[in-house]
Symmetry: C2
């Protein structure tokens, strides 16, 4: 939707917070890269084609037979109570104890992020996030005008020395931190998992500096290999606000997420949810409930993981084949994303046009940083495209990158991993 006016006649009417509300580069990009001739490694879409429509059909049939009038009606703000029991079962798979009264159901985890921001963030408040971090979370936070402090990650997640440094520095100035936001498993966008020991360390720091922890866990169930780490909530219920979602293990289109949190916080979140939308769709909640109580949802997740594992393997193989020695990338044990880092003179946002021209798309890294950073990085999604497409996508991407490198070499940059003449081979 492009503005029709060059001058916005309403510009003086908007709330101050709107100056902080920026369009997500990623959402804009998704619109462009929806063209069927482009291989998009840009999205974060689950592979919904894997779902047998007959399963949904019979699930809906059960719901309508049981109580169609309730399914079409308003429901309680905190969510459809029977569904809470299913969500608890989902959390139990990762060893997170939870009770129905600890949960409110939200319109996707994104709504959870929004209402958490709303009840905690005053303009100018300090919050902490990983860098890079999920752009949808950053946008929710920013719309309430906080100061975001970012913590770098290594291959084991947030670097605790840096976290301690930021907390200490703020404390020295008499400033508090409202919360630390983390995606501990197969992080979006980096594909990095917060190592178990660091989870304890993070919670110790949160305790020491009395700040809350927002644990966003959309991908925890999408582990292909390796040992699961304990959720932060399972380690400290009194300080952690946990966000879950059915988007990655059932359906994003149903828009069902949830928040588990200490009860006084839940009470406030409930008020925010009430004025945000009254209630989540009763229809989709009842469908989800029927699905999780009657269908083989564990088998379905297992099947999905087989797809994702194969695609993850494909993207790592393709990266190895085409970009070894040129780029670096993460090797996620689950989730949807790989994070690639190119030589620093390549600006991935500037290179995107050339990539789209070569019929491949990615998300430039800078969008995942609230301030600066990630200019030579990119997020690559492997969940949505099949193995062959993933391969072909990386091949196309490598061609674009190597062309950039040749250009850079011609301009006198020191270019890694590119033998003389190879750029000609690639033309």
């Amino acid at each position: 939707m492009s503005p029709r006016f060059t001058l916005d006649p309403f510009s003086e009417k908007y709330a101050h917070r709107t100056s902080n509300m920026l369009s997500s580069e990623i959402r804009d990009l998704l619109a462009i890269t929806a063209r069927p001739d482009i291989i998009s490694l840009a999205g974060g879409l689950p592979y919904t084609q894997a779902f047998d429509p007959e399963i949904i059909m019979r699930t809906v049939r059960r719901v309508l037979a049981e109580d169609h009038a309730a399914a079409l009606q308003y429901g309680p703000t905190d969510g459809y109570a029977p569904l809470k029991h299913c969500l608890i079962e989902v959390m139990a798979v990762e060893g997170t104890p939870c009770f129905p009264e600890d949960i409110i159901i939200t319109h996707g985890a994104q709504q959870g992020l929004d209402i958490i921001s709303k009840i905690f963030i005053n303009p100018g408040d300090n919050i902490i996030t990983e860098a890079p971090s999920y752009v949808g979370a950053l946008n929710s936070f920013l719309s309430y005008q906080p100061n975001i402090h970012t913590i770098p990650m290594d291959e084991d997640g947030m670097v605790l020395e840096n976290l301690a440094g930021v907390l200490k520095g703020l404390a020295a100035k008499g400033e508090r931190v409202k919360f630390i936001y983390t995606i501990p498993n197969f992080q979006n966008p980096a594909g990095i998992t917060l190592r178990s020991e660091r989870r304890f360390g993070l919670l110790e720091l949160a305790h020491e500096y009395d700040c809350l922890v927002v644990e966003d866990n959309p991908y925890g169930m999408l582990r292909f290999e390796g040992t699961p780490c304990p959720t932060l909530r399972s380690l400290d219920e009194s300080r952690v606000i946990y966000l879950g979602t059915l988007s990655k293990i059932f359906s994003a289109g149903m828009r069902i997420g949830w928040i588990a949190a200490p009860h006084p916080i839940l009470d406030k979140l409930l008020l925010a949810k009430q004025s945000a939308d009254l209630c989540t769709s009763t229809f989709t909640q009842m469908v989800a409930h029927s699905y999780f109580t009657t269908e083989d949802w564990r088998g379905q997740v297992k099947q999905l993981l087989e797809h994702y594992r194969g695609r993850r393997d494909a993207i790592l193989e393709a990266l190895e084949e085409h970009l070894s020695g040129i780029a670096e990338w993460t090797r996620p044990q689950g989730g949807l994303f790989v994070w690639a880092t190119l030589p620093e003179f390549i600006k991935t946002s500037e290179m995107l046009a050339a990539a789209v021209d070569a019929k491949v798309a990615y998300v430039p890294g800078s969008g995942f940083f609230p301030h600066e950073g990630g200019e030579c990085c990119m997020r690559l999604n492997f969940s949505y495209s099949d193995v062959e497409t993933v391969h072909e996508g990386i091949k196309r991407l490598a061609k674009v990158i190597k062309r950039e490198l040749s250009l850079a070499r011609a301009l006198g940059f020191k270019v890694p991993g590119l033998e003389a003449g190879s750029s000609h081979d690639e033309q």
Copy 2:
């Protein structure tokens, strides 16, 4: 969900705006009055039992057959494009011209209210509402800390002299009004419709004082009799933000609403929607689209209106029979609600316990006022209960009211319409 702690250990962490976030008395009440032995005239629930589940079943079947993977997937933030055409058709029934690019689809009209509040209201900003007004709107507004100025209504809606007075008074102090909020048709809670001439007058005042108008129109299609009035949007597209919903003509449980607004405002709303929930449920949007393009939705609305008209007649008859000369009430030509005013020494919020004891519930009037007002008033819903139940509910209510009046007479109040001894007959 009751708080487990007497002292909230997080109390110093919340944002300032949470002190303005109060629980809706109505939502709390709905929880209590859900007991099956109580006749609830308290809710605002559509009569979803009227819907043939087979219609929904075949609608879902069509959606899944057409593109199940899309229905289960994320969708665009501004909504499922084909559904916008249906919404335009719905608006056309009331003579409101609109184009797909003028619309974003929201998670119910409540989300529309929330994101409008978010993009316009700075703490301390002036906004104007009718008094009484929809409690869900008041809660959305209040959570962004505005000054709400209220305008009384007579049987023809907002009294324009008062509106002019408030606008003039604020202008004299150099203050602006961000927007005027109105529910012009069969207002919630008053059941009052803004007379056509006043719609022109309101827009003239909005123009004179350069403020926006938020037109919330959930009930416009629920007219049983009389001549429809033009929507405010149809009279001035440049200044009106229009809210529509499918909750009253299709299903509240699908959570589908929309906003039609000038494009620069839509752009801002889209950013707020993006950080609020990414997108509305693709599944329910595709179901709604299939329903509105394939099923006889106009026939369905007509059938629903027959139910509602009968129930409206029943509540007016019962009020006449049991409370004539004691109370006054509005006579809506559509919608879901009647607003009753009792002698002013009766406090309807205090009387509620006695009513629930007598197995009938209503919503006390004071909840619909941001400041004070409505203490002797109540909102009565007639859409959800059948004709006999509505009659019985008012009979029970009248008994409670007459008992209160007897008590008041004993205390020396001048009591209208109650002959000597009648209270004994009622015991």
